[in-house]
Amino acid sequence: MYNRSKIERKKVDLRDLRIPALVFLLVAAWSLALWGLLVADRREQVLATTRRTAWETQAALEEGFDQQLEQLGALRDGWSRFGLGSQAEWQENMRQRLESLPGLASIVWVDAASDRSRFIAAPGESDAAIRRDLAHARAPISGDRLEGPARASSGEAQYRIRLPLSGPDGHAGVLQARFDVTRFLDDLLKARALGFVLSVWWDEEEIFERGERVADDWLPWWRVDGIVSLPLDRHWTIVHRPTPAFAAERLSPTPHYLLGAGLLLGVMLAVVAYQFLLIVRQSKVLAASNRALEQRGVELESRVAERTEALRDAVTELESFNYSVSHDLRSPLGAIQNFAAILEEDYRDRPLDGEGQALIARIQRSARRATMLLEDLLQLSRAGRAALTFEPVDMRALAWETIAQVRAAEREGEGEVEFVVESLPIAMGDRTLLGDVFVNLIGNAVKYTRGCEKRRIVVTGRVVDDECTYEVSDNGQGFDMRYVDKVFGLFERLHAQDDVEGTGIGLAMVARIVKRHGGRVWAEGRIGEGARFSFALPGWEGAR
């Protein structure tokens, strides 16, 4: 029977997961690499933008300082060459300067030698700041100076540019401009570096800040520090950092989606690979099953051929059997017809005399022969067909039962028969069929001793070489050993029908029964001295 369980799904074998796992890892690694590249590229873009912005901011700052220096320088040159002019003109002129230069908080001119000074301040500047400016301006300088930035006492970061001057008309002293860092940078950077957090540092001190505050550790690699070269060898550091909103805008989530899709694809491919493995395995199993089936088919065919041949043999045997039966049945029936016809012809118009009676007796005898043949055939059929029931059989008792049965059927006047039954081994076999064996052997012995002197039938038995052997011997007509091969043949007879009645079935049936018990039969005989029929059954532990 084809084994179905072979193709049913087994428990998952860890070894089966190796290839799917490899597939998943490959796809996942590829996705991860792609994700990394994309993310790095985006970051690089953001960083590049930041750098460019920083550079632009830096340039703008430097330009703003240059502008301050340039204008203040022009002012000094004017004063040096043409003098300060009237107070009113000066005030008006300086007010324009205050408006045009972003972050300019005050302009002070002090001539320490003549103790003259002029000043102007942007609206909102305190008197104290002006006084500090005036005091500061009195300090002599040898050249152009940038002072600060520094925190004023009010807390605002500021720086001063101081330029010494000396004019032809005796104008000398210091031109000092104070700038408010916050206002300067607010104005300068108001339209620049949008989306970035800016802070300006000078000497470890933060002097300006714009935009929302972010933690220092927020994506530190996006921080770009620009060095702003101030005039007179001074430096500011301006720090650019993209705001989270700006970064989020640039860093789209596409790479993350790609990574997720890649991992999902990996899982799917792994599942597909696993299923594929299973299919391959199942198809292998199926192929093996197919081969087994084909093999079975070949075996079955050869078995069919064997059986067919056996069947053909059986049919041939059956045909031969049928032929023999019809042949043997035809003779007595034909005789009945023949004698009936003779009776009809000879006694058409006269009463039945002794001869007529004899014809009727012959008809009866033929009818009896036909009946006997049919009965034997039935018995033979039973011997070949019936299922064997094995049981211990007391063969001695069985022999005596048989003898009683045979004696009852024996006709009067045939002469006494002396029966001797010795101790017999207990047999293992079918009681009914072994009874049939004895009926035929003892019955035969009785038949073939008819007309002999001192009829004597002896049944003996013994256990020899793991076999239980039984013998029925008589002192009757015996037979010629030349024809011993025919003794057990079906429908074979060694004597003419009218010498000894018989059908040629009995001994054949004996042979068949013994053979079905796994035993064997044989016979010995001598003309005029008697015959001995023997059979042996397989030995068993109960035989004794």
Partner: protein
Amino acid sequence: MSPRPAILLVEDDRDEVDVVLRALEQAGFGGLGIEIARDGVEALAALGLGDGESTNGGGVRSPPRVVFLDLKMPRVDGWEVLRNIRAHPRTSEVPVVVVSSSDRREDIARSYALGANSFLVKRFDRTRPGGYIAEAARYWLELNRTPQ
């Protein structure tokens, strides 16, 4: 020389023998001598082909003019007898009519192959039991009318 029976009837069934004998006598062949053999062994003995031939002091008998031979008999069957008849020069020319209740093609073919002159299937004739044997006897006796 012992009287020579013209017909040898080989048949193990005594009823059949009686019917055939009656038919042959009715046909007028009773006076020619009819010998009965009840099986193959007796038949061979009657033809002088048996075991005891060499020790048979009665001398060699001439063969019958026709043999009616049954096939199925105890001990030695009809084919064996037929083979012996054809094998022996003295009897090889004797007409042999096989009489059998078999009408099987292979039995008929085998009989002719072994040298049978004719093959008759046993018939049970309501009007003349054994009459077909008598008719066959008439034909073969006429054909084999050897001078005495």
